[in-house]
């Protein structure tokens, strides 16, 4: 099965994101008091560090559900105009340079071919 199977369903960070996204007060605290939030939701030091560093690969390795990772980045960088050139997505290019480069090359190829 694919990468989604690596998720740790009981990881505190996976519970935390669900609540932060739905609550404007928690979303504001995300930017001003991430450490406090992390403590309240019982995150490990590793979970907090991966969050703080916007470390996509580490978040995956710790078992954060992969669907939540772009949402984590949007909480940091903003949700509007989230196209592939959005600064939030540069974190993916750092984490998976080979996959990202291959994908963007394919995109250019497909767009050229279909024109």
């Amino acid at each position: 099965m694919g990468s989604v199977e690596r998720c740790d369903k009981t990881l505190p960070l996976n519970e935390m994101i669900f609540h932060v996204r739905r609550d404007a007060a928690l979303r504001a605290r995300w930017l001003t008091d991430l450490e406090g939030l992390a403590r309240e939701f019982g995150l490990s030091a590793e979970e907090y560090a991966a969050l703080r560093d916007h470390d996509v690969r580490r978040l995956h390795e710790l078992g954060v559900h992969q669907y939540y990772v772009p949402q984590i980045l949007r909480l940091f960088y903003g949700a509007a105009a989230n196209s592939n050139s959005h600064p939030a997505l540069a974190a993916y290019q750092r984490a998976y340079p080979a996959e990202s480069e291959r994908a963007l090359r394919l995109q250019a190829e497909l767009e050229r071919r279909d024109r």
Partner: protein, 280 residues
């Protein structure tokens, strides 16, 4: 007895509203044409209600409790959820619900051993907001949203989705009203939201899948399009096609493929299909 009058399926990628203009011009033109055609076909079928099969992207249910299926039974549906409106570049919409049919699905489903959770107040992200923006733009057609879990393991199999579709077809047929029902599937095609291949689209898989739909042979599709094959083509996202496979159980014969675009810019293989014959 309610009657199915339309069955269609489409992609719901957030880029279709959130950053539509970032795809090349020819893909924008093609998507607009196909979505316009779907809207016209839907209107021409004069539905009293849309039953829309989408998936919950960990929006309504937390990861410690992800029901396989959830029905929105409210009298009105309001979306997009806060914070998602900005991402989708959509303002708030209010669509009337159809509580009588929605509650019938839940209770009659249970009598047929189908466990459907329900929410009186459901939140909506791209899964419902994008198709409603294009196909129900004035919110005039009442909606019964049904979401599945195809994101949090264990992900159900295509056989299971088809079996649930077959059961729901009987449940809808057993509804005492004479409603004309449009069934819509949304999700897919290949994509891997948030995974290592976040920017990838598997065009070969998408064309192969659409070809299976064009052939209209359900047994072959269920045999060949395994969950493993969908996961290979994009983990945690391509399996949104389970909604299409569920709706397949409402149809017979070949699907008409209205459009396909390998739209990495919108972040998924983007397709629109319609069926012309419905299973009785």
């Amino acid at each position: 007895m309610a009657q199915v009058v339309s069955a269609m399926a489409l992609t719901h990628s957030p880029g279709l509203t959130g950053w539509f203009d970032r795809a090349p011009a020819h893909q924008q033109t093609e998507a607009k044409r196909a979505l316009g055609e779907m809207r016209d076909r839907l209107a021409a079928s004069r539905p009293d209600v849309i039953v829309l099969f989408s998936n919950d992207h960990l929006l309504n249910w937390p990861i410690n409790n992800t029901p396989e299926y959830t029905v929105g039974i409210g009298a009105e549906h309001v979306g997009p959820a806060d914070w998602y409106d900005e991402w989708l570049a959509l303002s708030k919409y209010r669509i009337p619900g159809h509580p009588a049919l929605a509650r019938h699905l839940v209770s009659e489903g249970a009598r047929r051993r189908l466990a459907l959770s329900y929410l009186r107040r459901m939140e909506f992200d791209d899964g419902v907001s994008v198709p409603m923006h294009y196909l129900n733009p004035t919110s005039s057609i009442p909606l019964v949203p049904v979401t599945m879990n195809c994101t949090v393991p264990p992900i159900p199999t295509p056989e299971r989705a088809y079996a649930v579709g077959s059961a729901l077809r009987e449940v809808i047929a057993a509804y005492p009203g004479s409603e004309r029902v449009a069934v819509l599937a949304t999700g897919g095609l290949s994509h891997e939201p948030g995974g290592p291949r976040y920017f990838w689209v598997d065009e070969e898989f998408d064309l192969w899948f659409l070809d299976l739909l064009k052939k209209g042979d359900h047994a072959t599709l269920l045999r060949e399009c395994t969950l493993e094959r969908m996961e290979e083509a994009g983990s945690g996202g391509t399996a949104e096609l389970l909604a299409w496979i569920l709706v397949l159980a409402f149809t017979t014969g070949p699907a008409e493929v209205l459009a396909y675009m390998p739209a990495i810019a919108w972040r998924s293989g983007t397709g629109m299909v319609a069926w012309n014959h419905f299973a009785s």
